[in-house]
């Protein structure tokens, strides 16, 4: 009996522990908020802003490329932002589990703005809405890429922009 109680106690500790681990908070932005906060910063940073979603296979393949760039160049003013276009109803069921299972360390925000016909051209005129897509900018440089990056390719864009 004592053993059972001990076991139950242990289980409840495990359960409580798994609930008390700090939850991932995903900042949710509409396009105006996203634009103001992330799209046109004029500071010394190099911004790598990637549009992705957990359901997009090429996006998922590409995430480690951005993670590596951030890991290597975070001390050189490189800011990586992963802009998720997942449905807001899937934050808990898909987005957070993905971030946790893949140990994503770059900053992730959710862009929650359904009228994409309005804002897609504001990100870039040439964007057709297919993801992955990436904006890279710093003072004096701004490019939009409709592609899945390989690491070397991305690094060869970032390197010349470093101070």
């Amino acid at each position: 009996m004592a053993k059972t109680i001990l076991l139950l106690l242990l289980f409840s500790i495990i359960i409580v522990d798994s609930f008390s681990s700090p939850p991932h908070n995903i900042e949710t932005l509409d396009f105006e908020e996203f634009e103001e906060k992330w799209l046109y910063n004029d500071d010394n940073n190099i911004y790598v802003i990637n549009f992705w979603a957990t359901w997009c296979a090429p996006c998922i393949r590409e995430i480690p490329v951005f993670e590596k760039i951030w890991e290597i160049y975070k001390d050189n003013n490189v800011k990586v932002l992963l802009v998720s276009l997942d449905f807001p109803t899937q934050i808990e069921s898909r987005l957070i589990p993905f971030i946790e299972n893949h140990n994503v360390e770059s900053k992730v925000v959710l862009l929650d703005d359904p009228d994409s016909n309005r804002w897609i051209p504001l990100v870039d005129d040439s964007w057709n809405g297919a993801i992955p897509a990436t904006v890279i900018y710093t003072s004096g440089f701004r490019e939009f890429y409709r592609k899945e990056f390989k690491y070397d390719e991305l690094e060869s864009i970032i390197k010349p922009l470093l101070n």
Binding site: A53, W55, L85, P114, S116, N117, N128, G129, A130
Partner: protein
């Protein structure tokens, strides 16, 4: 050396052609002959009475397509009697994306009871001609003097994930404009969607 430069520039010219932008509104659209989920090949020529077609590059796996499936069914049921049947075309390479295989297309069409044809661009020759880049990607075609012309390109409406919050039904408005003998406005919209899958 000159020969090499010539070859290189020829290759460059060819490859830049290969990534051409596809159709713009007003362009003449090609017919196709693609395998439907009912086991038969299907062409737009098989619909001599149609005034036009709602061609939607679509697939099984993309959440944005799934969000629109019921609306696609409604669109077909509403506009096929008015002369604009819907044809869904799966442009994805089924080795790269096995969830979009022909067998799974049949299954999906049965599950949802698609009233419209669902064909596969198995050789991936049709979607590049249209210039489709994502699923779902709509090309509204109008038949004039036996030829098909692109009248609208883009999204079905302005809210993929919630049909009840749609403010602008771009595609319906475009079809209604054609039925009224007018030009669609807007005739081009864009939306988030899944990249069309090709072998590298």
């Amino acid at each position: 050396m000159k020969k090499i430069i010539l070859i290189v520039s020829l290759v460059l010219a060819y490859s830049s052609n290969a990534v051409s932008q596809g159709y713009e509104v007003g362009d003449k659209a090609t017919d196709f002959r693609l395998l439907n989920v009912d086991g038969n090949y299907l062409s737009m020529a098989d619909f001599p009475d149609a005034k036009g077609f709602i061609v939607i590059f679509s697939c099984n796996h993309c959440p944005f397509v799934v969000a629109y499936e019921d609306r696609m069914i409604d669109l077909h049921n509403k506009y096929e009697p008015k002369g604009f049947p819907l044809i869904a075309i799966n442009p994805n390479d089924t080795i790269v994306e096995p969830r979009d295989s022909y067998t799974k297309m049949i299954k999906r069409a049965e599950e949802k009871g698609f009233p419209f044809p669902y064909v596969i661009d198995a050789d991936q020759e049709i979607y590049p001609q249209y210039g489709a880049t994502r699923t779902p990607h709509v090309y509204l075609l109008e038949r004039r003097d036996g030829d098909l012309y692109v009248a609208y390109i883009g999204a079905i409406d302005d809210n993929a994930r919630d049909a009840s919050k749609v403010k602008e039904k771009y595609l319906e408005n475009a079809i209604n404009a054609l039925l009224a003998g007018e030009k669609p406005d807007p005739d081009f919209t864009t939306a988030i969607g899944c990249t069309i899958k090709t072998k590298e």
